[in-house]
């Protein structure tokens, strides 16, 4: 599915943990401005895929092209600078730092003060709760608020491509809707989004396209509405 207009294009990606292969040759692409969701059960390899994009793990073979440049051998700090920012699974906020300090760290690579201010304003309009809790330690926030902080913190780095790893994990349905609505809004502001989810219904509602991973391989892909109505998907992920 090679496509010249791909913003990020992954080809035959193989990733191993020691001798155990977790991704057996994954290929996928995301175009500029899209929301693409990656669906799959626990242990399928979704987090591993995002970790290799973010430069946390070196793939053993395959390529990752971002904006036409290979990035599979570039280290994580440089990847953030180029505009690929990840909000990790389980939120991973810095729990003994304040909300404000967490946001500041999100802007670690951004040295443009004015831009930092503008983004901060935007983060506060997306998640007004964060503004009320700026001085609080991140570890004292509720799960939903921590997720808002994790996403807000990623935005502070001024992402071009935002990687969201299971943002709905462990949250009440109402909060899930809020978070995914925010993801949609972020996308409408021009940020390309890769959304990893187990909650297929919620993810497919906001995505343009989706891929399904099973044990390290892509087994299906297509337009979001087509996937939503695909009987196999309905059986496996939508409880229908």
């Amino acid at each position: 599915m090679s496509n010249t207009s791909s913003y990020i294009e992954i080809k035959d990606l193989v990733v191993k943990y020691g001798k155990v292969e977790a991704l057996h040759g994954i290929s996928l692409n995301v175009k500029k401005g899209e929301i693409v969701t990656i669906l799959g059960a626990n242990g399928a390899g979704k987090t591993t895929l995002l970790a290799s994009i973010s430069g946390l793990i070196r793939p053993s073979s395959g390529t990752i092209l971002f904006d036409g440049q290979p990035i599979q051998n570039i280290d994580s700090a440089e990847i953030v600078k180029r505009g690929i920012i990840q909000s990790p699974e389980g939120r991973r906020v810095f729990s003994t730092l304040t909300v404000w300090e967490n946001l500041l760290l999100g802007a670690y690579t951004n040295h443009d003060k004015q831009k930092e201010k503008d983004i901060l304003e935007w983060v506060f309009t997306l998640f007004p709760r964060l503004k009320e809790r700026l001085k609080q330690l991140a570890g004292t926030l509720s799960g939903g608020e921590q997720q808002m902080l994790a996403i807000g913190r990623s935005l502070m780095g001024d992402p071009k491509l935002l990687l969201l790893d299971e943002p709905s994990l462990g949250l009440a349905p109402l909060v899930v809707r809020q978070i995914l609505a925010a993801a949609k809004e972020i996308n409408e502001r021009g940020v390309t989004v890769m959304l990893v989810e187990q909650n297929a219904v919620a993810a497919l509602k906001i995505a343009n396209r989706g891929y399904v991973i099973e044990v390290g391989r892509i087994v299906m892909d297509g337009e979001a509405h087509a996937l939503m109505h695909n009987p196999e998907i309905q059986k496996a992920y939508l409880g229908g």
Binding site: S54, G55, L56, D75, S76, A77, V80, K81, I85, Q86, P88, R92, V93, F94, S95, T96, L97, E101, L104, L105, G106, Y108, T109, R153, S154, G157
Partner: protein
């Protein structure tokens, strides 16, 4: 009461040195879960650098006694910081993903290397800072004459700690150091270069340790190549008392250890002071196993 105030001032002075050294243990532990057993030797190296600078630039008599400590501290701190930086590169970084025991062995190796290098370069015998470098009158506090050099020593150490505290808590890089100590993976996702932060910690900790060595030489006079062993051990205990990995904890632990030790020495006897001090500290650890300000569970050592 007089004994109490005198011993309190002695205790705070030596305690502030323990605290400076304890900071190096605690910062490295916080970021790598590694106990840098060579840190005590960096303190010793600082003391020797200070003496060398003092002698080779003939500072005494030519420069104000209030300025001399700062010249020595800054130059020795820079020298020891370079050694700390190299220590991490050579002895610890290659073992980052090896098992923990390998790094411990490497730390002891580095410690032995430093002590012996000092013996070779200087001499295995004691050496002395001139006794009269800082020759100022005593200052009365609550009716008790306190040696002004104790005050200068304490004030200098506290100032260095205040600077560190400000840097760690109020600058972006300081915040990044704390973030790396909490979650390296998440810190990488912020675009923080974790290796650079680790190097920075191996610059700051040894710089403070080197500064402490200079203060030790200036105010207690005698130095020898192996003094870092027992002194480092005490500073390490101070870090544990405060809660290892916790920066204000190391400051508090150092001061507390110094004071308990001095008071025990003043009221009981000099030869019992270590036993009493360590006994008191064991009691603290019985009631707070993670140290006074430590929060995390005791999976530490």
């Amino acid at each position: 009461m007089d004994i109490f105030i005198t011993q309190l001032s002695n205790g705070l002075a030596i305690g502030s040195i323990y605290a400076l050294v304890a900071l190096g243990y605690t910062m490295v532990y916080g970021i790598l879960r590694l106990i840098n057993f060579a840190h005590g030797d960096l303190f010793t190296i600082g003391a020797y650098f200070g003496l060398t600078i003092l002698v080779s630039f003939a500072l005494q008599g030519n420069v104000s006694p209030l300025i001399i400590p700062w010249i020595l501290i800054i130059m020795a701190a820079i020298g020891v910081a370079i050694i700390g930086f190299l220590l991490e590169r050579v002895a610890y970084r290659p073992l980052r993903n090896a098992n923990r025991l390998a790094a411990v062995v490497s730390a002891f190796g580095a410690s032995i290397f430093f002590a012996n290098a000092l013996k070779l370069i200087y001499s295995p015998n004691r050496q002395s800072y001139p006794a009269d470098i800082i020759n100022l009158p005593n200052i009365p506090i609550f009716g008790v004459d306190i040696q002004s050099k104790r005050l200068i020593m304490f004030g200098t150490a506290v100032l260095l700690m205040a600077l560190l505290y400000w840097y760690i808590n109020h600058t972006r890089t300081g915040t990044a150091i704390r973030a790396v100590a909490i979650d390296q993976g998440a810190a990488k996702l912020m675009g923080i270069n974790v290796n650079k932060i680790i190097s920075l910690v191996f610059i700051i900790g040894p710089a403070l340790g080197g500064a402490a060595g200079v203060l030790m030489g200036l105010f207690y006079g005698q130095i020898h190549p192996e003094m870092g062993f027992s002194f480092g051990l005490k500073a390490f205990v101070a870090a544990i008392i405060g809660g290892i990995g916790n920066i204000p904890g190391a400051m508090l632990g150092g001061l507390l250890l110094g004071v308990v030790e001095a008071i025990a020495g003043g009221y009981v006897s000099g030869s019992w002071k270590d036993a009493i001090a360590f006994g008191a500290l064991i009691v603290i650890l019985i009631f707070r196993p993670t140290g006074i300000l430590g929060e995390r569970v005791a999976d530490k050592i």
